[in-house]
């Protein structure tokens, strides 16, 4: 499948998603297609943003890629490892940061980093040096030996990000990483994510904050009701819609999808 994004350098994708579908079954809601046949690729040194409202399917997509959920149909690979056949290899290749910091409250920041480095396969003899490196880089030395439950939200967020990259994975997944953060902490977070991109990591990033997507993402996929309705660079999206603000572009595609709802439009490919 040819790439839809010509500005992206022609290197091998680290994440490939093909016809990925995830259906939930619930007594009250019946059959719910949370992700409905989406396609996209991500490459090294790229921030790929999934932009959508609450319930659009962003988190489900990321959870499927992180092997927490099984896809109902379709396939995906991370660093060449298939989700279905090599889930452990997939997990070792990525760092996943959920919407909450999800840290162990009774561990210190240092112990947290040590634990996640070891459990993700970092060689035992390199764990100590790696932990010190992370403490320096994220500036958490002052509270490295304080239990996590005694840290502020901003400090916890830094520890959570450091934990995500503890084993230095090539692919990073951030699910709404700035939710609940104040402006300064959110800015710090954005800087960190941009720095990871500059190091050549592949970053999958979900958000419903337009300014954040506009600022960070190299390519943006607009996802609504489980389908990708547009996927390109911001400039291309502007050119395609004739609109300047990402918020207007987002609303344009959502309205378009609503008007086509009866016609069951196919998902836009972003590969």
């Amino acid at each position: 499948m040819p790439s839809a994004c010509s500005l992206i350098p022609p290197v091998n994708p680290t994440v490939i998603v093909r016809d990925l579908t995830k259906v939930f079954y619930d007594d009250s809601r019946g059959e719910l297609r949370a992700v409905d046949g989406i396609n996209f690729d991500c490459r090294p040194g790229e921030i790929f943003g999934l932009l959508g409202a609450n319930g659009a399917g962003k988190t489900t997509t990321l959870r499927v890629l992180a092997t927490i959920l099984k896809p109902t149909a379709g396939r995906a690979t991370v660093m060449g490892h298939d989700l279905a056949t090599a889930p452990e290899a997939v997990r070792r290749s990525l760092g996943f940061s959920s919407a909450t910091t999800a840290l162990y409250p009774r561990l210190t920041a240092r112990e947290t980093l040590d634990f996640f480095a070891r459990i993700n396969g970092c060689p035992a003899e390199r764990v100590g040096a790696r932990v010190e490196e992370l403490i320096d880089r994220f500036g958490i030395g002052a509270y490295a030996d304080v239990r996590v439950d005694r840290l502020s939200q901003g400090m916890k967020q830094k520890v959570a990000i450091a934990r995500t990259v503890a084993h230095d994975p090539p692919v990073l997944i951030f699910d709404e990483p700035t939710v609940g953060l104040d402006v300064l902490n959110a800015l710090d977070m954005q800087k960190l994510i941009a720095a990871f991109r500059d190091e050549g990591k592949t970053i999958l990033f979900s958000t419903h904050i337009m300014s954040e997507a506009q600022k960070l993402c190299d390519r943006i996929a607009i996802i609504h009701q489980g389908r990708i309705h547009a996927c390109d660079t911001l400039a291309s999206l502007r050119a395609a819609t004739g609109l300047y603000y990402l918020e207007d572009i987002f609303v344009h595609y959502v309205e378009q999808s609503r008007s086509q709802a009866g016609e069951s439009p196919a998902s836009t490919s972003c590969a």
Binding site: F24, Y25, D26, T60, A84, R92, L94, S98, A102, R106
Partner: protein
């Protein structure tokens, strides 16, 4: 699936570190019991001693009333004299009692002014009370006499004495019991004196005297007492000690969101579950050891009494064996806790599950308290109960190795099953999504039935066990009707209805090829002999006492049931209802999940287990495998029904007419196996395989593993 020991160690170490930093756990599970236990012992010892001292020094106040009050006073006076005359040390409890004059004795008793009312009266004929005395003028004299009763004179009404007391007052109860004992002793002494005076050569208790001689060693006596409660205590400590950790371990992690993070790491589900298992076992055993050590301190301080022979019951070798035996119990308790924790979405929800699980966990552990229940029975395959029985037998000094091994394997298998269940929960999406069900649960039908078939048959087995124990002494026909119709058939109908299964598919109601009937006719004698041969083989490992077999034959073939009825109940009904349940639904639930040989073996083993007697397991399981095999080969239940009917018919006829099928030589059974092979050759040649049957061998490519390992 392989374990990465380094990852496992990291998980375990980190989890343990977090537990040790949990002040709530340390406070409620370690510190509080350590502080509370001595206070409890000291308090209860102090209170008991004080109560005993108070009751010992109690001067019993009583009132006398009734038409025979004078006789009662006389009796009390004689009792007082007897007690005073007793040498010191004979009377274990010095006893003082005094009469109090009351106008309303009952009110005085209620107000605690007196402890007992002694009511003297006459007992109507035929209702002499326990304290009744022979009546007559001489009876009122100080020295009782025996009078020859005149045949012509009407028998005078005997006197009686009622001791009225308040059961809710300690002092009143104690006084009543002491007075009763003292009065009865007086009567005994007077009777003996009278008999000796009238020429009895020796005191009555020396004539044809009997005595009890216990040949068990003190260690064995202590062992049987310890064995009754040891497993119960372990389960109790495991469940209470491990609960806080287990509930926090999965449900708490879910609530905090850390489980989602953990599931995206390089650790496999199995490594996560094993680490959590080890953690719970470590913590629960740690808490148990802390409590035992605490207890030993109080034993050392003589605050808690223990029999001195206890050490004799637990030698180092016995201790090691007990440890091995109890290991799967600890793993099972830990697995059950993790299951509850994995099932729940929140810590609070997990707490709701805990109490019923706690009770359910304790029920099998009380098996050794049931009188007359041996390990060599159906209990040998009931997890926890079998280990509890095994522990008791080991402590008594009776080592029934095959049964101990069976008990260990069964409970270990149950522990493994719970681990598998926890793994399932970790892979289940409801763990982290709001969706309650997966596709199979949502759509129902055959796929859901296949997922739940084991649970259904486990419940049926438990129901059968309970029903059978209730109906053990009932009429054979009633037992069979309840088991076959009430349990198997109703259970089968419920399964068909719940999962909307097509009866023709689920029960394999298809016509086989005509030659199959010929194969079945050959198979019946061959199968019977092969099954009996299997029984003989197993008998080498687990010998069955002949009296058990004779008892079974008498129960199954009672003389009071007409022979025709026996044939109907033992041959026709099982062939119909058991086949519907086992070669119908059970087999239908397993086909598609396993390869054919595995299906046949599993159906046979379950069929054997449902016969609830260890010595019947081998032959019935053997028959079950063959019946499943013929159903798989022919795709029809009818040949199995015919085979089952003829096989049971043959068994009943052989027993009724003393045909010595069970006493053939090896050649006879080998010939039977040969006939069976020939029969299966016919069946194979005319096979119309069961629809949806998996390939005999796994030819699928290895690459199609599930996402969740």
């Amino acid at each position: 699936m392989r374990l990465n020991w380094s990852t496992l160690a990291t998980l375990y170490r980190t989890e343990l570190r977090m537990v040790l930093r949990d002040r709530r756990l340390l406070l409620t599970s370690v510190v509080l019991p350590i502080l509370v236990m001595p206070l409890m012992f000291l308090g209860s010892n102090w209170s008991l001693k004080k109560r005993e001292a108070k009751l010992q020094s109690l001067a019993c106040r009583y009132a006398v009333q009734g038409p025979e009050a004078e006789w009662v006073r006389d009796l009390m006076s004689r009792t007082r004299e007897r007690l005073a005359a007793e040498p010191k040390g004979t009377n274990t409890a010095p006893f003082e009692f005094e009469e109090v004059a009351c106008t309303n004795a009952l009110a005085a008793l209620e107000q605690g002014e007196i402890h007992v009312i002694l009511e003297g009266g006459k007992t109507p004929a035929g209702a002499a009370g326990p304290a009744g005395e022979p009546a007559g003028p001489a009876a009122a004299s100080r020295k009782p006499e025996l009078r020859p009763r005149s045949n012509s004179a009407p028998a005078p009404l005997p006197r009686s004495l009622r001791l009225v007391f308040m059961g809710n007052h300690d002092e009143s109860v104690t006084c009543a019991h002491r007075l009763q004992e003292a009065l009865e002793a007086t009567r005994r002494a007077e009777r003996v004196a009278l008999l000796l005076e009238r020429g009895l050569p020796a005191p009555p208790d020396k004539i044809a005297a009997f005595s009890l001689v216990d040949v068990a060693t003190p260690g064995q006596v202590a062992g049987v007492n310890l064995g009754r409660v040891l497993t119960l205590l372990l389960v109790l400590f495991m469940l209470t000690g491990g609960a806080v950790v287990a509930l926090d371990s999965l449900a708490g992690e879910k609530e905090r969101g850390t489980l989602e993070t953990l599931l995206t790491t390089g650790a496999t589900r199995l490594e996560i579950v094993v680490a959590k298992h080890l953690l719970i076992i470590t913590v629960a055993l740690g808490i148990t050891l802390a409590q035992v050590a605490n207890l030993l301190v109080y034993v050392g301080l003589k605050l808690v009494p223990v029999p001195g022979s206890l050490a004799a019951a637990v030698t180092p070798a016995t201790g090691a064996l007990l440890l091995v035996l109890l290991l799967p119990v600890a793993a099972l308790a830990s697995g059950i806790l993790l299951l509850a924790s994995g099932r729940a979405r929140t810590y609070k929800e997990a707490q709701f599950y805990f109490f019923p699980l706690f009770l359910l966990g304790l029920v099998p552990a009380v098996a050794p308290l049931l009188p007359g229940l041996p390990l060599r029975s159906a209990v040998a395959i009931v997890p926890v109960a079998n280990i509890a029985m095994g522990v008791r037998e080991v402590l008594i000094g009776s080592f029934d190795w095959p049964m101990l091994a069976l008990a260990w394997v069964t409970t270990a298998a149950a522990a493994a099953w719970t681990t598998r269940g926890v793994l399932g929960y970790l892979s289940a999406e409801r763990l982290i999504t709001s969706s309650e069900r997966d596709e199979i649960e949502f759509l129902g039908g055959l796929p859901l039935f296949r997922r739940r078939v084991w649970a259904w048959f486990a419940v049926l087995w438990a129901v059968l066990l309970v029903v059978s124990s209730y109906l053990e002494k009932a009429d054979l026909r009633l037992q069979l009707l309840v088991n076959l119709v009430g349990v198997f058939f109703l259970g089968s109908l419920l399964m068909l209805r719940t999962y909307r299964l097509d009866p023709r598919q689920a029960l394999a109601l298809r016509q086989p090829r005509p030659a199959v009937w010929l194969g079945v006719l050959f198979a019946v004698p061959g199968g019977m002999l092969a099954a009996i041969g299997a029984f003989h083989l197993l008998n080498f490992v687990i010998p069955v006492p002949p009296q058990v077999l004779e008892g079974f034959q008498q129960n199954v073939l009672p003389q009071d049931i007409p022979f025709v009825q026996l044939l109907f109940f033992l041959s026709v009904l099982p062939a119909f209802f058991e086949e519907i349940a086992f070669r119908g639904l059970l087999l239908h639930g397993l086909v598609g999940r396993f390869r054919p040989v595995t299906v046949a073996v599993l159906v046979g083993v379950v069929f054997g287990l449902f016969h609830l007697a260890l010595f019947r397991f081998a032959p019935t399981a053997c028959l079950g495998v063959m019946l499943a095999a013929v159903t798989l080969l022919t795709g029809s239940i009818y040949p199995a029904m015919l085979w089952h009917f003829l096989s049971n018919l043959g068994g009943v006829l052989a027993a009724r007419f003393d045909i010595p099928l069970a006493h053939l030589d090896a050649g006879g059974y080998l010939a039977g196996a040969g006939i069976l092979c020939a029969a299966f050759w016919i069946l194979w040649r005319n096979r119309t395989p069961y629809p949806g049957l998996n390939a005999w061998r796994d030819t699928r490519p290895r690459a199609s593993q599930a996402c969740d390992e």
